[in-house]
Amino acid sequence: MSRAADLAAGVRAGRLDPRALAEDALRRIATHGEALHAFLEVDAAATRRRADEVAAQVRAGKDPGALAGVPVAIKDNIALAGASLSCGSRILAGYRAPYSSHVVERLLAAGAVPVGRTNMDEFAMGASTENSAFGPTRNPWDVARVPGGSSGGSAAAVAAGLVPLAFGSETGGSIRQPAALCGVTGFKPTYGAVSRFGLVAFGSSLDVIGPLAADAADAALAHDVIAGRDPRDSTTYPGARPSAARAGRSLAGLRVGVPGEFMDESVDAQVRARVDEALELLAAQGARITRLPLGRLPHMDLSIPVYYIVSSSEASSNLARFDGIRYGPRSPAPDLLETYLRTRGTLFGAEVRRRILLGTFALSAGYLDAWYKKALAVRRLILDEFIALFGDFDLLAGPTSPFPAFALGARTDDPYAMYLCDILTAPVCLAGLPSISVPCGLTRGAGTALPVGLQLVGRPADDHRVLAAAAAFEAARGEPERCALFGAGTPAAASGAR
């Protein structure tokens, strides 16, 4: 599977045909689609039309943009006009987006070719994609295991080489954790760096859109295309600078801190081992690694309660619009109240209902101060502790996920067990920091070798440094292990622009 950057360069130079690239992607998806269930919808006709448009631009001597002809997969909670926007839920089954998100507008303006809508945990609530109302996605490394979540479909699509580039969203870990479990690179930008206009809201103060790719250079390329202030999203900030990743910034002298809280014994031993090796590799490239004792992030262990209270509270409000009144299926009922109760009661899945109840409870009279406001205060403590660390370090490092991909069904009986998937990623989301997960090896020993992800975390708005450091690490690491599907099928031979 070629890199997105290479494909775009080839298309712009007239060496590669966008239509051929699209057909390749469609063919690979059709071949492996059933087994993985990474996609909820693939509109081959629309994909071909779009690819032809890009080809026409090249023929006309126009530059389609930085992602010219690149087939991209988009998580089904990011709006593309006319396409599905199910968010993995039956309450939006059949809903076609009446507008495109800001991110999709940028992607189209850069010449990208959307090939399909990827599977996800319902309304992005989950860490395994098992909460999708339309069946789980499977991990290409071992189809009996989960790909992680909630952007499991996007991660699996890239890991299996179906597309070179995919987009997902993260609220508590939903880009980086599936990237880690699937052995790909997933980037979560600083909160506010990328417009959320057109991202179906889950936790408004946490949600971000980011790329999943085969390497950090492609992630950086994608981020540059989609980042920047959007007047329609009042939480975006201007001045997202183009990434320096392609400049191959060296790691020499970079001060990297490894908080004790990132590497405690709740982390699987094999995961810790791969991360240790990655840290040694960073050190060998000149980075100054400091392993910290416990105590620099004393409130990090409260991240799960804080994250779930805050995100569920916001979600309980964000999901109130799903009532069948203006769009989506509407359950038949004798009166208005029953219409609401039945539509929402039957069409939301169990995890979504659980979080709506939790959030409604946390915001309700008599409990607001004890739960919601309390969680927001502890959130500030967590943020302050991270900011204090960045007084001494340029980056923080550690594992992305405390364990590698687990078996389908292993954590579905106990919601809290699933919540623990986020213990290393949620704190970073609460602080709004930019962070990337890069593959750093496979687990060894008995059983299937499974990918392990290294997470790098940067200061607020320091996205380009995180991307650059990741690219430098990847350059030093060399080509990572890929699953068997990844290299199967090559892109169309150069046929020149017609």
Binding site: N77, I78, A79, L85, C87, L92, Y95, A97, P98, Y99, S101, R196, F197, G198, L199, V200, A201, S204, S205, P231, R232, D233, S234, T235, S313, E314, S316, S317, L319, A320, R321, F322, D323, I325, R326, Y327, L336, L337, Y340, T360, L363, S364, A365, L368, Y372
Partner: protein, 490 residues
């Protein structure tokens, strides 16, 4: 049961929702316009589509500050928005973006006069609690006898200001007077049209009763959605009667939300909210805190100085020497007051302000009504009226003839007033030399009548004056003619 003879006083507080006069909606750029076909002024944001976000309208914020200044409120240094969560078909997102604990404006008061019931007027001051920004909901229509309701989202997202008064009002008439004064203040500040028929000025009333002299409040009921001044007084009166009857009979008032039936003149509990709603207010995460620039506030305060109805009335009466009832008539509408002041500014020193007022309130307003135009749309601009009044003051035009001239002037926008008067052959002769000749001629012709006048029949003066007017073809300035005739008759 015997009726107890406790004297109770009504305690009334009003919440008024005012639509701010912006072009676009509060959080999206759809047009904010009344009367469009249903669901034609909407977009993904105000129709609550998944993935959409709010973007605050700068003009709504500016008008909100202006309204707060006009009402004597404290303007917050920073203001934030909150979500008010509840389910209703006219609320597309399932929550309303409003302001909970950091409203844009706090405090404030409104001073006004109300009839005191004995033929006079009494001054009142009502304190305000706060005024905050929020978005409007859509509209629901209930077709008679059918099992469904219809939703129109054109109004969803229109910018509103909610103005909350302290429960300082003590009668339905006072409440109506408060609303009139509030409406006038906001119209004069340019904040809102305040048109109750178009729904840009809506009132909810809170009413309770307590024994006179008691400090503690009684249990209150809220009457929602009163959209005419008459309904407000009727509804309050009906509710006061209802509560009085209950209390006189030894019962207790149950706190409730009510609607008013203007046909049966009764209030009754609404069934739309099944139980007291827990709105679960929390800060709106999609909107940052907004810093209010003190320089902006001061500059807006400057634009308001002296232009409020009370200051203008003082100036009209004490400096411009208008009759109080003319001043009040001019201050009913900001258009009138602005037109009046522009005409006074354009007029030269021969034209008293009183005559400007008089002409505006009779002939010009009549013209505007007949043409179904607003004052600013008339071709008879303040400057042209001032010209015309100068002709009258100089004796070249009679006051009676002015009305017809104004009609003609309206039809000929680019012709100067004097030319219009001339073309209508209404230019009066005030030239004394000319008039002396005419008078002399008449006295010669009417020598008989003159002799009888000088013999004592003073009533004949009128007939002789008539003869002079006739001889001048109606163009003699009556006052001048009168003077000359009187002198000539000795």
């Amino acid at each position: 049961m015997t009726r107890t003879a406790i004297r109770r006083e009504p305690v009334i507080g009003l919440e008024v929702h005012v639509q701010l006069a912006t072009r676009s909606k509060m959080f999206c750029r759809c047009e904010a316009r009344f009367g469009a076909p249903p669901n034609s002024l909407i977009c993904p944001v105000c129709s609550g589509q998944p993935g959409t976000l709010p973007a605050l309208n700068a003009e709504a914020l500016r008008l909100g500050i202006l309204a707060g200044l006009a009402l004597g409120c404290r303007i917050a240094g920073r203001t934030k928005f909150d979500r008010k969560n509840y389910f209703y078909p006219d609320l597309p997102k399932g929550y309303q973006i409003s302001q909970y604990d950091q409203p844009l404006c706090s405090g404030g008061e409104l001073a006004f006069e109300a009839p005191d019931g004995r033929g006079g007027r009494q001054e009142h001051r009502v304190r305000l609690v706060r005024a905050h920004l929020e978005e409007d909901s859509g509209k629901i229509v209930h077709p008679e006898g059918l099992s469904f309701s219809l939703v129109d989202l054109n109004r969803a997202g229109v910018p509103l200001m909610e103005i909350v008064s302290q429960p300082d009002l003590r009668s339905p008439e006072e409440a109506a007077a408060y609303l009139q004064a509030l409406r006038r203040t906001l119209r004069f500040a340019g904040v809102s049209e305040c048109d109750m028929e178009k729904g840009s000025f809506r009132c909810d009333a809170n009413v309770s009763l307590r024994p006179v002299g008691q400090q503690a409040f009684g249990t209150r009921c809220e009457i929602k959605n009163l959209n005419s001044f008459r309904f407000v007084t009727q509804a309050l009166a009906a509710e006061i009667e209802r509560q009085t009857a209950i209390l006189d009979g030894g019962g207790r008032i149950v706190q409730s939300t009510l609607a008013f039936d203007p046909v049966r003149l009764r209030t009754a509990p609404t069934r739309t909210k099944e139980e007291a709603n827990d709105y679960r207010y929390f800060p709106e995460p999609d909107l940052p805190v907004f810093e209010i620039d003190p320089a902006l506030v001061e500059s807006l305060r400057g634009t308001l100085a002296g232009r409020d109805p009370a200051s203008r009335r003082r100036r009209y009466v004490t400096e411009l020497l208008l009759a109080p009832q003319h001043a009040d008539a001019l201050l009913e509408e900001p258009e009138r007051a602005d037109y009046f002041e522009a005409a006074v500014a354009a007029a030269d020193s021969t034209v008293p302000a009183a005559s400007v007022a008089s002409a505006l309130l009779t002939d010009v307003l009549r013209l505007a009504n007949d043409r179904r135009r607003g004052l600013p749309e008339l071709a008879t601009t303040p400057a042209r009226l001032a010209e015309l009044l100068a002709l009258v003051a100089g004796g070249a035009l009679s006051v009676q003839a002015m009305r017809n001239v104004i009609v003609e002037m309206e039809a000929r926008p680019s012709v100067p007033a004097r030319a219009v008067v001339e073309s209508m052959d209404l230019l009066q002769v005030s030239d004394t030399g000319e008039l002396e000749r005419v008078v002399a001629d008449v006295l010669r012709e009417q020598a008989d009548m003159v002799a009888r006048y000088r013999a004592g029949k003073t009533g004949l003066f009128h007939a002789l004056l008539g003869a002079v007017m006739k001889a001048s073809g109606g163009k003699a300035n009556p006052a001048t003619a009168r003077e000359i005739l009187a002198r000539a008759l000795g």
